[in-house]
Symmetry: C2
Subunit: 430 residues, 2 copies
């Protein structure tokens, strides 16, 4: 199957820079982009789609979240962090695999509708529910998270589930599913579990998803307890010896950032969550200067409270201006790359994240025929400051259209809502 | 004409507090709400509308902006403030009344589609273009702004236009149009013009729209020049002796806030603009403590870059948590009132801003049947943290539906786009 998009505005990547073509063509053959240009290609495609008034851009990568926490959306809003957690935990204890499946499927509906083509998740029962990645057509890096109890490492069920999950499922669905490792955080893992995991890490390989320096308390208590920052602890334990992506990083120090740069640790910035929970402002402009690989995430819906990457793109583009007093500090090109290609690098998907010949066709279209999107003097600024998630009119992953004009082409919206509402009823009220 | 909304979720106001009714009825007779309750009213209405799965809430009031700056959207994004202004001014000098009309009409299309029922504007040629308020059905407080030249006050054309505009147009269109006064800012008005205006203010009456303490530079230079803050200058000049609303107030001092409280000055918080331009974070939590009347605005599209009040509501609800480190500091009820009833008070419209029997029917509906809006454990939190402007499916002003499901009922969308694109072409390129 091949498709030619024509008459489109196209945000291509050229020599590593974002560049906007007007009235251009983009060809997709199978799962791959095989043409971008302002001349009509010679080749005949199975289908042509007129994209007049629309912008094609790379799909967004939501690089940190807990998808099924959408089931808890709005519970305990506006409580202090510890009170909120204490309200959450007893409900989370009751979550069953079918609830997490319903939550992840609903999250995928939400994400596809606002332009997310790939996500990283850290939550419960991924090994039981990952078939929905196959069915929906989206890409995901899932993890069976390591946290908690001081048990014997080799017989610890979470370790064994994580290893089994990776062995069985990594690379499934034409490599749309990646299975990564996850340590929830420095303060939630028992020392012997951390030690055991660190010892077998060299043979395990793979990628590691962690929470890092989200709150001032986390940073300070680790320094008190261990005499070092959480970042230094992860570094010393050897966890940064495999590709690692660290969510939040609000309170990292200069030295922490240097260690992360040395080891190529990617940072996932979650501006909505960090502000809503009162965690603070991550030193993103400093990380830009240090050339760390920076991506974006929504965090879970319980602390955001949605999965709209256009909001995160917007916030990443303005909050640091406000915080530093410098309106030039975050450029649209920087933040759009955070939302797209940097996330692909983080996920171990160097074959996507940009509209370039030879890349995977993970493409979204924005309908520019809207009062808030005219005129277009600067397309990157328009996408960053003016566009909404709801402007997305098409989401394509690996050359397959999954969402178009309010319709889902691979998922049964009614069935997902039905299952989700049943889980909400089970968990409390809806 | 009377309408009964049925099966709705309704965010009513009861004894001054927001309260959510489930499966409820709301009756509108003419321009007024005449029933709210969970029992079906006895009275027969001309029309019944089933609002199952929808939330009725008060329309939003965008209390500070420069609507026709949408024509300049995206020009000079990411420049330092002064460079940006120097890029803007020569283009603004070329604006004609028809351009400002096209800009205001396009802004009204945008605002109606995301739930704004009333706006305050400070820009050019309001006296020539205000008929679009009549035609569109929206409510507005317009001003012919005083700024600039050191001319004889009584023969100053801006003064005379402002007085003439108010005399001719204040209260037109069933009082949907209010004509207010405006001083652009302390630093942009000649002393003799300010003096002359201050002298005749007692007989002029009305309301006053100003910029105040937007940047640190503005605050500091005024103290240097006049030995007092801009707020103290406005106070001493007597400008706070009529109802006044002050946009931004990022750098106001404790004393400034106390003066404003003493005189009942309303504050318009513009979080997107203040962050994007690097102005900083207004001390909104402190103003909440001092019980100032706080409203919300988008500012112009050139410094936002859109007119989406749901974004401002969201930002006002989270940025101060991040800035203070306290996730409980801004409550959804506080910020929803900022976006609604407080703005009505500011605008001199005590007959609206809340869903209550006897209030004007300025009502919006949100479609809750969306992946990011389930479950609804806390409707105020849902509206504040999860909802999008694009969730608005109906906008009613004075009992008249102006926008519904993507369609404009009073405005010709194609004609407005046509005129707007012509103005964009005239101003540069589109």
């Amino acid at each position: 199957m091949s498709i030619l998009f024509k008459n489109a505005k196209i945000m291509e990547t050229k020599d590593g820079r974002l560049n906007v073509l007007e009235n251009a063509f983009l060809g997709v053959d199978g799962d791959t982009i095989d043409y971008i240009g302002t001349e009509k290609p010679q080749k005949t495609y199975d289908q042509e789609k007129d994209m007049y008034g629309k912008l094609l851009m790379p799909g967004l990568n939501n690089c940190h979240g807990h998808t099924a926490m959408n089931l808890l959306r709005g519970i305990g809003s506006d409580l202090p962090l510890m009170d909120w957690l204490h309200k959450m935990w007893p409900i989370e204890d009751r979550l069953r695999p079918q609830d997490c499946l319903a939550g992840m499927e609903m999250a995928i509906l939400e994400m596809l509708a606002c332009g997310t083509t790939s996500f990283c998740d850290m939550y419960l029962f991924p090994q039981d529910i990952c078939h929905c990645i196959g069915e929906s057509g989206i890409k995901a890096n899932l993890t069976r998270v390591l946290m908690g109890e001081n048990e014997d490492y080799k017989s610890f069920f979470k370790r064994n589930e994580a290893i089994d999950f990776r062995e069985r499922c990594n690379g499934l669905y034409n490599d749309r599913l990646h299975v990564d490792w996850s340590i929830h955080a420095e303060y939630t893992i028992a020392d012997n579990i951390a030690q055991g995991f660190a010892e077998e890490l060299p043979e395990l390989g793979g990628r590691l998803h962690i929470h890092l320096a989200e709150t001032k308390k986390e940073q300070e208590e680790c320094i008190q307890r261990r005499g070092k920052t959480p970042a230094k602890w992860f570094y010393d334990m050897g966890f940064f010896n495999i590709p690692c992506y660290a969510a939040h990083c609000v309170w990292v120090t200069e030295d922490d950032m240097d260690l992360m740069k040395e080891k190529g640790v990617s940072v996932v910035h979650n501006p909505s969550s960090n502000m809503k929970l009162g965690s603070g402002f991550a030193p993103i402009p400093r990380m830009v200067e240090k050339d760390l690989n920076l991506a974006l995430g929504t965090d879970g819906s319980a602390s955001n409270n949605n999965l709209n990457m256009f909001e995160e793109l917007h916030l990443a583009s303005i909050v640091h201006n406000g915080y530093t007093g410098d309106p030039t500090i975050m450029k649209p090109e920087t933040t759009i790359k955070m939302a797209t290609v940097n996330g692909s690098i983080l996920q171990g998907r160097p074959d996507t994240g940009a509209l370039e010949k030879g890349k995977k066709a993970d493409i979204i279209a924005l309908n520019l025929d809207a009062p808030h999107l005219v005129p277009d003097y600067d397309t990157l600024a328009l996408v960053t400051y003016s566009a909404q998630g709801s402007d997305v009119c098409m989401t394509m992953v690996d050359g397959r259209i999954l969402y178009e004009n309010g319709q889902y082409l691979t998922m049964d919206r009614e069935r997902v809502f039905h299952d989700y509402r049943k889980s909400c009823e089970y968990l409390g009220k809806e």
